[in-house]
């Protein structure tokens, strides 16, 4: 297994390189000039030109790319154009926020989604199934934004139970941290629960009419155990895939929720970096995302091996 991890990680290296180059090229494709934005309203063309020079933006592309890659190889991701921060510190500052949010949200999504999915599959075509399905659909089609606002109005403004916005680091206490994140986490979860539920349901339906379920029943296993132990265990590959997928979604882009709840997460960071053409920051964040996603997915792959003994890789 150790070999598998090393092997997969080794594969990640060239991929990260590809991300690096792609990110770089993509940024070049974009119209808009970071120098103009940095210079601000009313700046003269000379001023802009100067900034361009200082940032080496006036040099040929290949040269810029080369320099950047060279620095990258030395572990230097460079500095943000806008933030007066190194890319690493900018990201390091926000990652805990995104990770916290993703983790709490996942902790809500996973049990709820799985529960709904399993119940819906079991009670297939009944009213329970219909309700679970409705919840699933509401989650995806009601704009997150709307839920977020309504939730703030209800829980923060009207009831005064939860803070309306802002992040409190874990270092300032577990409860404040949790209270600050619980609302956005639920809003995010609502969006994902449906997906997980539907996926679980579908996978469960595939498993439920297989022979070994009959065997379990023949042994006198009660329905709930048949459902959870015998059937659900067999859907874990599908469920894990979806969970991994949701996790990467949560880390990478919960821009709207971060925005509504004024959370300084990486989602907003990267969008703003794109919008302000903060090249080094975008490139750096993408690399980081790439790395995290590779990690998540390697972890999922390894979990596959654990949850389904039939799976094998060479």
């Amino acid at each position: 297994m150790l070999r598998l991890i090393t092997f997969r990680l080794a594969h990640a290296v060239p991929i990260l390189l590809i991300i690096a180059v792609l990110a770089f090229l993509l940024m070049q494709l974009l119209p808009g000039d970071p120098a103009v934005l940095m210079a601000g309203e009313g700046a003269t063309p000379q001023a802009i030109q100067e900034i361009r020079q200082r940032l080496n933006l006036d040099q040929p592309l290949v040269r810029q790319l080369g320099t950047w890659l060279l620095h990258l190889a030395q572990g230097d991701l460079g500095s943000s154009l806008q933030l007066n921060q190194t890319v690493v510190s900018a990201v390091a500052e926000r990652l805990p926020v995104s990770l916290s949010l993703a983790a709490i949200s996942l902790l809500i999504t996973v049990p709820a989604g799985i529960m709904l999915g399993v119940v819906a599959a079991y009670a297939r075509d009944s009213w329970l199934d219909a309700v679970a399905m409705a919840v699933a659909l509401i989650g995806v089609s009601v704009p997150t934004f709307w839920i977020a606002i309504l939730s703030v109005i209800l829980f923060s403004v009207t009831l005064g139970w939860l803070p309306s916005a802002g992040y409190v680091p874990l270092s300032e206490g577990f409860v404040p941290w949790l209270l600050a994140l619980i609302q956005p986490a639920i809003v995010l979860a609502l969006f994902q629960i449906g997906f997980l539920a539907r996926m679980t349901r579908s996978a469960m339906l595939d498993v439920l009419d297989q022979d070994f379920i009959r065997t379990a029943r023949a042994k006198g296993v009660v329905e709930s155990v048949v459902l959870w132990k015998h059937a659900f265990r067999n859907t874990l590959i599908a469920v894990l895939t979806v969970v991994g997928y949701i996790f990467s979604l949560l880390i990478g882009g919960s821009v709207i929720v971060e925005q509504v709840f004024a959370l300084p997460g990486v989602g907003r960071l990267v969008v703003q970096a794109v919008l302000t053409r903060d090249y080094p920051l975008v490139q750096g964040t993408l690399l980081l995302f790439g790395f995290i996603f590779v990690l998540i997915n390697i972890a999922t792959d390894i979990l596959y091996l654990i949850v389904d003994p039939r799976v094998r890789y060479d």
């Binding site: 974009l30 119209p31 808009g32 000039d33 970071p34 103009v36 934005l37 940095m38 210079a39 601000g40 309203e41 009313g42 700046a43 003269t44 063309p45 000379q46 001023a47 802009i48 100067e50 900034i51 200082r54 806008q82 933030l83 007066n84 921060q85 900018a90 500052e93 926000r94 606002i149 703030v152 109005i153 923060s156 403004v157 005064g160 939860l162 803070p163 309306s164 916005a165 802002g166 992040y167 409190v168 300032e172 409860v175 404040p176 209270l179 600050a180 925005q259 509504v260 709840f261 004024a262 959370l263 300084p264 997460g265 907003r268 960071l269 703003q272 919008l275 302000t276 053409r277």
Partner: protein
Amino acid sequence: PAQSQGKNAETIIYGNTAGPGTLDPFVGSSTVDLEVMHHIFEGLVGMDANYAAKPMLASKIDVAPDGKTFTFQLRKGVKFHNGKEMTAADVQASFERYRKLSPNASVLADVTEYSTPDPYTFIIKLSKTNAVFLDVLKSPVYPFVVLPAEQKDKPAREVDIIGTGPYKLAEWRKDSHLTLEKFDDYAVDTTGKPADGLVGKKEALVRNVRYRFMPEANSRIAALQTGEADIIANVPRDLVARIEGRPDLEVRRLLACQQYFIVNTQQPGTDTPEMRQAIRTAIGVDDIMAAISRPTKRSHAMTIPGGEYYNGDLNNQYYDQKNPKLAGELARKAGYKPGQKIQLMTTATYPEFRDAILVLSEQLKEAGIDSEVHVIDWATNAANMQSGGGNWNISSTQFCSNPNLGPQQWKFMVYNFPHVKNDGTLDAAYDKFYTSQDLADRKTAWNQIEKQVLDQAYMIKIADTGLIQALNKKRLPSFDDYYINRFWNVPLK
């Protein structure tokens, strides 16, 4: 948590859309930058409530009769946040750094020499007469503030945030919040002037000011309602009702900006004055004002009432013509062929720009002029407006400091955004403006400039616009509006 971020006798909490991009004063230009910087940094001169230049760190200013030499006496005992005393050397180093890296450095192009005969005297010599040099120095945008001399070689955006202002920077978490802390050794201006605009007797009455960055209007309002913020900025006009119902909250409307359509004179379709005028004729500002979710006021002028250069109804005829029929005829005369599309460029980053453009597109349609709207991100929009590239005919933007600060502040905009070329009338008027020491002459010059810009429809005025702020009256009973929010002399209950 609600408490940890919320009500606090020592901390004023201010919610605005975003945090500063940079706190390096020499490159800071956006409102969110400035409203923090002016608490931390101070310059030799600053604006008063009427936008006039007044001494700040200078105790006395002498202007030589030829308008070329400026001598500043510095206040004594002014301390930087690092405890060091400010001297002329710091001032000179700051000017030198400014010249090296500020986008606005060109205004120092005529400087021939700085000198510091003694630690409290600073002299600037210019090669040419500049009648409005002090007005240049008062600019709140890219402010000419004083940094410790050691910061001289720091690249743009990388200075240590050390000023002489009443507050110092305590904590700054990008995209989250920024906290200012009272500077205990602040040298209050004791020359006897009361607080006025950015100058005068400034005192920090609360320990901390926390700026919270909350991009969503709904969230800011919620924060104010829950007491997690004491004051918030940028309330969309159509959401004001949510606040107005509450006895403890108060809504403030501030009209300090102006919004325009910028017409690209170099782009086919709008490269003739006739066509630009046709477009202007089609525009009715009431619908636009209704559409943009900001407080607005009808006004044709490029300056604000009360300012030195305000000229009453002089150029009113170019405003709000609202005559689609005539506009259609003019367009045809100007050679416009139906089906030909005027390219409207705007951004969603600033909804008021986009909304104005959307209404414009409808009004042009009424006049028989077809158009196409391109919504792009602000980065591209701004870059295209600067460069003239990107195939746009009309875009919209808003100016805040320019109308307030006078014609010198307008110059770059009126030339550069519409990409004006070879306009002798405009050139001559500006020349006169800079060289005449006589205010009356300068006013005449400005009237000409304004007339030319509006007549040629380089820019088409939409309205004076502004912001809506809201605050908790109970907590901030005596908060004073200004076009930059200030938290000195503000007590917290």
